[in-house]
């Protein structure tokens, strides 16, 4: 596959300089064949139409055979002979009337389209090459993405086709305000990228900035949307995620309605969104389809979950190792009784359990599903239990790491980052105790406060505190009460009201 692209790229350079004057169907066809190194999957056909030689070439794997027959070959063969008419015009306007037809005057563009799935029609003596879109789209069906499961709410998820994904969005947005800006990135892959946003809501300067950044990308290929992340984020080496990702059209439209901009990449079911704030991770699409009081409770739970996930093992080590005097006596008795006879220091013990859990997680993730289920039970129950019974680790250590590990997945989008932070907290807790853990927390908060994602503060609307945006922070008010678009995200301030002024 890659060798084919290499061949194509070498020949492109030669083709660039070639300008078409008058098409010699056979010669041009041979030229294309040569340029594409006689690639086996390139199919050609030559036939007579109105007495003129017409050549057709296409890549068999990416061309819909049925469509080719029904839309091009059969109509051509069945079309009544007419010596008066111009061959090219007849083909364009009558034979291929119900297909998307593009005219090329330069061979390079024609070959580009051929590689993208178009079928080229070369008419002898014409000054244009016709390209018609007869591409065969092979994609997954629209399914519910595994990371954005909802109890109530839309279950459609994006798939790997940019066309399908755009269709899913268009189906929800029937507005002339919705803009799709297409571009191609990747010298070899020529991946289609779409920047989508609402013209009246998105901040124009951000759209400009994103477009500029994307245009500047010089890369062989874009395989997935995450390839773009490092080009788009400001703090390249930061541990924290600075660009949002969504897998569902309802979430994307919701975000765009707040003034965000989406970037869709062909071949990836993940759509990137910008600007991104940390708070987005606390929010879930389910939140907007459930009762506000319940949502408020769940969001606070998520926040507490994150704190527990990151800090609990570090705090436990700090308390056990340095600050037994601030523990209530009963709790201290429990810890003393359970940690008695453990051969490791508290740090090694926790580190051992963390490693155990991380290995289990990684193994479980990549195992076949039927085997994975059995392994998780074996890992969690038997390994943990036997480690405790063998006196290698204490029950509180297992419980604390397990609790912390589960709490990560309250916010699955940040689980990877948080596991690194947890490890840092454990090391600092073991080295410096509670004082160190506290300073570490301030450092993290300070670090997160220090960077902005496309004019939006990362910790907004908490720091800086934006009172108007508190309706959808930890507490969520009803949709009716959320009259204004969030101020914490850089959007077009002129259209900050979500609804018409006459509505109450």
């Amino acid at each position: 596959m890659y060798s084919l692209w290499n061949l194509v790229s070498i020949n492109f350079r030669r083709l660039v300089k070639l300008q078409l004057m008058k098409v010699d169907a056979v010669k041009t066809l041979n030229e294309i064949k040569t340029k594409l190194h006689e690639s086996s999957d390139l199919k050609t056909r030559t036939m007579q139409f109105f007495g003129t030689q017409v050549s057709i070439c296409y890549f068999a794997p990416i061309t819909d055979n049925l469509l080719l027959n029904n839309s091009l070959l059969s109509p051509m063969l069945a079309y009544p002979f007419d010596s008066e008419s111009d061959v090219l015009t007849t083909l364009k306007e009558k034979v291929l009337a119900n297909q998307e037809v593009t005219e090329f005057t330069d061979l390079q563009s024609a070959v580009d389209k051929l590689l993208a799935g178009n079928t080229l029609v070369l008419v002898d003596g014409a000054d244009e090459i016709l390209g018609c879109d007869l591409e065969k789209i092979t994609v997954r069906s629209v399914e519910e993405p595994p990371t954005s499961v909802v109890i109530k709410g839309p279950r459609e998820g994006f798939n790997e086709s940019i066309k399908y994904n755009l269709a899913l969005i268009r189906r929800r947005v029937k507005s002339d305000d919705f803009v799709v800006k297409m571009m191609e990135i990747g010298k070899l892959t020529k991946t289609q990228i779409a920047i989508v946003y609402f013209d009246s809501l998105a901040d124009k300067s951000i759209v400009k900035d994103i477009t500029k950044r994307l245009e500047k990308i010089k890369i062989d290929g874009i395989i997935d949307s995450h390839y773009l992340v490092s080009y788009l984020q400001r703090n390249t080496h930061s541990l924290f995620k600075q660009i949002g990702d969504v897998e569902k059209p309802d979430i994307l439209v919701g975000k765009m309605l707040e003034g965000r901009i989406g970037i869709i990449v062909d071949g990836s079911p993940i759509v990137l969104t910008l600007p991104f704030t940390l708070l987005e991770e606390l929010q879930n699409s389910d939140d907007y389809y459930s009762q506000p009081i319940r949502v408020t409770f769940v969001r606070v739970l998520r926040f507490v979950g994150v704190i527990l996930a990151v800090l609990l093992p570090g705090l436990y080590i700090a308390l056990e190792k340095y600050h037994y005097k601030i523990l209530p006596t009963e709790f201290l008795i429990t810890i003393m009784n359970t940690t008695q006879g453990i051969p490791f220091s508290p740090f090694v013990e926790i580190l051992f359990v963390i490693l155990l859990f991380e290995i289990l997680y990684e193994a479980n993730l990549r195992m076949p599903q039927y085997f994975g289920m059995a392994m998780s039970i074996v890992g969690a129950l038997i390994l943990g239990e036997t480690a405790v019974n063998a006196g290698l680790v204490s029950p509180p250590a297992v419980m604390i790491v397990a609790l912390s590990g589960i709490a990560f997945y309250i916010i699955p989008g940040q689980a990877a980052q948080f596991s690194i932070l947890r490890l840092c907290a454990v090391i600092i807790g073991a080295c410096l105790g509670l004082y160190g853990v506290l300073l570490f927390c301030v450092f993290v908060v300070s670090y997160l406060s220090s960077f902005d994602s496309y004019k939006s503060a990362y910790l907004a609307p908490t720091a800086p505190y934006i009172p108007e945006d508190q309706k959808d922070t930890f507490m969520r008010k009803t949709i009716k009460e959320m009259k204004l678009r969030p101020k914490s995200i850089a959007n077009n301030r002129k259209h900050s009201v979500r609804r018409g002024e006459n509505e109450d």
């Binding site: 005097k325 220091s345 740090f347 090694v348």
Partner: protein
């Protein structure tokens, strides 16, 4: 210079300093928990025997089951510091006093003064100032062992017992902090509950095995039901300290009487005799105090300080001890708190309170906070009054006025 600048760029500086911190602190990473390297003391007993300070501690030790396990260690020395060090040497661990909830002080130490011990333990050894203070009578190791066994065998904690007492008997906190506050006040008064060691069985006594009292730096073990069985007796007696030294002991009966002046003491009971009227016939009635509100109003009448105490009691008839209980008692419509009962209550409470005042005056112990009320509320007049006293007890010249109101439960 440019290299130096890049070497000390802010981002790199953070990395450099983090590395330095890790270099210094990483060796400590593998150290065991301090809860394992320190001996966690839950109770400290101090006494003076033959001019030497003797110390006994109950130390928390891990056990296989989920319960707490305590062991008693003791030591002695010329000073408190050396005595504590000798215990530390015997255990082979640093003594951690952060969890020390009780400080028990022996009689002879209390007679000589406890402030030095308290100062050393709180300032140097960091015993929390909320640790409960106890004055104990008896042999120090026996006491420590008895308290330890109380937890181990009966699952009862002495601090819980004292805290319960606070609601029913003492009506005041008896921790180091309140002792300090009392000591540094103008009257320099402090109180501690008194726990006795008796050989006889008592109503709230706890069985404990006699132990061999060890010599220097020894560990005492439970004898396991020998012939000389001893008990901890908590009968509600209180030791009163003046200027940090034990001054007098107050009987539980007198404590109850004094409590009538103290607003915090809400619980209690009153027993009245010979009640006779249309319902009762020479009955003995036990009344439960449900609510008590004491208002102290100090004032000066013609230059004489008057201590006015208004006591409002809400009572409930608990027990009626009568030979032939009147049938009327069966009818619930009757008001059992008859005027005869109320009169008797007033008479009894008045008498109890007067007993308390005369006890305080005669013993020169201001347990009724007379000084505090007059000094704080009638400062100028009281200072004038004090200046006229010379060496005389200021309580002598104070008039006590008592006014009692009684309400029924409803």
């Amino acid at each position: 210079m440019k290299k130096l600048k890049t070497l000390f760029s802010p981002r790199k500086l953070v990395v450099w300093l983090s590395i330095i911190v890790l270099i210094f602190t990483l060796p400590t990473v593998n150290e065991p928990a301090m809860s394992q390297t320190d001996a966690i003391v839950t109770m400290l007993c101090v006494d003076k025997v033959d001019d030497k300070i003797k110390v006994a501690t109950t130390v928390l030790t891990p056990s296989q089951d989920k319960k707490a396990n305590y062991q008693v260690f003791s030591g002695e020395g010329e000073t408190l510091g050396s005595a504590v060090d000798s215990v530390s040497l015997a255990i082979g661990k640093e003594m951690g006093f952060a969890q020390c909830g009780i400080m028990a002080l022996g009689d002879s130490l209390c007679d000589e003064g406890v402030m030095q011990v308290l100062d050393y333990m709180t300032r140097t050894k960091k015993v929390g100032r909320n640790a409960i203070l106890i004055n104990f009578t008896g042999e120090i190791i026996e006491f420590a062992q008895a308290v330890s066994n109380l937890s181990l065998e009966k699952s009862l904690n002495l601090d819980e017992i004292i805290n319960f007492d606070k609601r029913y008997i003492l009506s005041q906190d008896t921790n180091i902090e309140t002792f300090y506050i009392g000591y540094y006040n103008n009257v320099s008064l402090g109180i501690m509950p008194k726990i006795k060691m008796e050989s006889e069985e008592d109503y709230n006594s706890i069985e404990v095995a006699n132990t061999d009292s060890g010599s220097n730096s020894d560990m005492t073990t439970t004898g396991g039901g020998g012939e000389d069985k001893k008990f901890i007796v908590n009968d509600g007696t209180i030791s009163v300290f003046k200027d940090g030294k034990r001054y007098i002991d107050i009987t539980p009966d007198m404590v109850k009487k004094i409590n009538l002046f103290i607003n915090d003491a809400q619980k209690g009971s009153i027993v009245i005799d010979n009640v006779s009227d249309h319902i009762y016939d020479d009955a003995k009635i036990v009344l439960n105090i449900l609510k008590k509100d004491t208002k102290i109003k100090p004032k000066f009448e013609n230059g004489v300080p008057v201590y006015n105490a208004e006591v409002s009691l809400t009572v409930f008839i608990d027990e009626i001890i009568e030979d032939n209980i009147n049938k009327k008692l069966l009818t619930r419509e009757q008001d059992f708190l008859t005027s005869a009962v109320v009169g008797k209550i007033k008479e009894k409470v008045q008498q109890d309170m007067l007993d308390a005042t005369s006890f305080c005056v005669s013993k020169d112990v201001d347990l009724l906070s007379v000084y505090k009320y007059f000094y704080n509320l009638k400062n100028k007049q009281f200072e004038e009054y004090l200046s006229t006293l010379d060496e005389k007890n200021y309580l002598d010249g104070i008039n006590f006025n008592i006014d009692i109101k009684v309400k029924s439960e409803n």
